[in-house]
């Protein structure tokens, strides 16, 4: 078996004259968590759907679990679990019935589904909800059920399109924790997200997309070092342009977004000394994160 789970080479897709995915290539190793990071409209969902054979690329080559996609996507999907962007559970069915119905789509017998259901419900922390109708579950529970459902065929690969969008912090952390358990079991995960924190916490590697184009790829730490590599001082209040001139000698790079000034400084104390005694300023010093990388690459003043 190849060690590559997903391989895209020169993939292009347009809808009408709008280019959605532009010459995209990347490769995901087995057992890896790979993130597609980008703003809304960057083409993330289109890529996820192309991996499943639900959209055909205009050009390029896609291989998923050694199967050419879309021509043999059906065969590949036998070993893929999917968590879609929008829940598509059976609302009138109970939690248990959802697993039963979904397992049958994979040709599983009722007995086999009943055999795996308890461990899936336990995994999703839904043991006590087995006979509750899905319409009565909270958003976080529905998401966890979607995850359990995606595991019914014991997939090698999970494709997750924005798995925690719309969830509160508790629910989100629980999903992240569950996904780490799956990675520890050796599953491969491809996830799309626009949460930097999610990408930073979960992904071994990620690919930053904008307008369907890859603008960076690498490990989260590596990207942060490469593109930022120093502390960040956020300054609120005051005239950003005036402050800009003041601190410029100590900054590697400065960005202004509205009323806020982002100063990338190897020695932030020097910046603070310069600003000492100025009234009405709020200063926040922090280590750099993926969001800085993302905004550096895509521009602070971007919408969304």
């Amino acid at each position: 078996m190849s060690t590559v789970a997903i391989d895209l080479a020169g993939v292009k897709k347009s809808f009408g004259d709008k280019v959605i995915v532009n010459e995209l290539s990347f490769s995901v190793a087995r057992g890896e968590c790979f993130g597609l990071l980008g703003p809304n409209g960057a083409g993330k969902s289109t890529i996820a759907r192309m991996l499943l054979g639900m959209i055909s690329p205009d050009a390029g080559k896609i291989t998923v679990l050694n199967e050419p996609v879309p021509s043999r996507a059906r065969v590949a999907r036998v070993r893929i679990g999917v968590v879609p962007q929008f829940d598509n559970l059976e609302l009138e069915f109970t939690v248990r019935e959802n697993l039963l119905v979904f397992g049958r789509y994979f040709g599983m017998s009722a007995r086999k589904i009943e055999a795996v259901a308890p461990s899936l419900l336990e995994f999703a922390r839904l043991e006590s909800k087995a006979d509750v109708r899905v319409s009565e579950l909270s958003g976080g529970m529905k998401r966890r059920l979607t995850l359990a459902r995606a595991l019914i065929n014991d997939p090698h690969l999970l494709v997750m399109d924005e798995p925690t969008t719309g969830l509160d912090p508790h629910a989100r952390h629980l999903i992240w924790e569950r996904l780490r358990v799956l990675l520890a079991r050796g599953k491969t995960i491809l996830l799309t997200t626009h949460f930097m924190e999610e990408a930073e916490r979960l992904c071994d590697r990620l690919c930053v997309l904008e307008g369907g184009r890859k603008i960076a790829e690498g490990k989260p730490d590596g990207l942060i070092d490469e593109h930022i590599g120093c502390n960040v001082v956020e300054i609120y209040g005051g005239d950003p342009h005036q402050l800009c001139e003041l601190i410029r000698p100590h900054a590697r790079h400065i960005e202004v977004s509205g009323e806020t000034l982002f100063c990338y400084a190897p020695y932030p104390d020097q910046v603070r000394v310069k600003l000492r005694g100025r009234a009405g300023l709020r200063i926040l010093q922090r280590p750099p994160n993926l969001e800085d990388v993302f905004l550096r690459l895509t521009g602070r003043e971007m919408e969304k």
């Binding site: 499943l52 639900m54 059906r74 999917v82 559970l89 609302l91 119905v101 065929n153």
Partner: protein, 262 residues
């Protein structure tokens, strides 16, 4: 491109069963309401027209008007129940409920889903058509075994109209467009196809046109079965119905591919 169309056709002969069983499970939860809802309309027609109009009309084609009408009502209820199941319930599963999207992430193809939906809609037709037949038999307007003879045609009629409705929902942007199909296609078909009066009453050119319509072929098979007469050119009627079931199946599956998997 041909390869891609092949990829959406049914993957094997049995994948569709999982879709049928999903719908059956959902139906079981609301079975009683569903049966009553499906029966009320055709039974009201049968009694209203059968008794009321039957008094004026007297005998038609050598039988009582209500017995003549009962066979037409069996065919019509098979048509409407398959049509409505597809146009409303299957459309919701394809569109708002995203059920099809969930199924498409498994090893099923679009063709498997469409086939499962068609057989399911046909199953509901068998239920509705048989129920009308039972009412007619109970009242003595049809013999009990005749319902069994009619059943294969009822099922085929269900497949035909589910298949045609699939084309409608694969093209319709929303529910609002279904009314055109109902009022411009289905309602005229009821009057052209010998449901409430013999097609021999129609002007000649209309008779030829009616001969092309699927409901006419259903009625021409179901009525002789229920009146226990031999059907004329049965093979022709069965063949025509098969064409009406199969061609829209392929057309709608290809259209759904464009709609859902572009």
């Amino acid at each position: 491109m041909g390869e891609n169309y092949a990829a959406v056709m049914p993957a094997n002969a049995y994948n569709w069963i999982a879709v049928w069983r999903r719908n059956f499970l959902a139906w079981k939860k609301v079975a009683l309401a569903s049966i009553l809802g499906n029966l009320a309309d055709p039974i009201a027609n049968l009694f209203g027209l059968g008794f009321g109009l039957g008094l004026i009309v007297g005998r038609v084609e050598g039988t009582s008007y209500i017995a003549f009408l009962a066979a037409g009502m069996v065919a019509t209820s098979a048509m409407t129940s398959a049509t409505f199941e597809t146009m409303y319930a299957a459309f919701a599963r394809m569109d708002a409920k995203r059920t099809w999207e969930a199924i498409l992430s498994t090893q099923l193809t679009l063709g498997d889903i469409v086939l499962g939906e068609l057989v399911w809609a046909a199953s509901k037709s068998v239920l509705a058509g048989t129920a009308i037949g039972i009412v007619a038999a109970t009242l003595g307007y049809a013999s009990w075994p005749s319902i069994l003879y009619a059943m294969p045609t009822i099922a085929l009629t269900g497949l035909v109209f589910a298949s045609l409705a699939m084309v409608v929902i694969s093209l319709a942007p929303s529910y609002d467009y279904f009314v055109f199909y109902q009022t411009l296609v289905l309602t005229p078909m009821v009057f052209l196809c010998g449901v409430v009066f013999p097609t021999s009453q129609l002007p000649g050119s209309f008779q030829h046109f009616a001969g092309l319509l699927p409901l006419a072929h259903s009625v021409d098979l179901i009525r002789p079965a229920m009146l226990e007469r031999g059907a004329d050119s049965a093979a022709l009627h069965v063949g025509a119905l098969c064409v009406y079931a199969v061609l829209p199946f392929f057309a709608s599956t290809a259209l759904f591919r464009r709609r859902l998997m572009r």
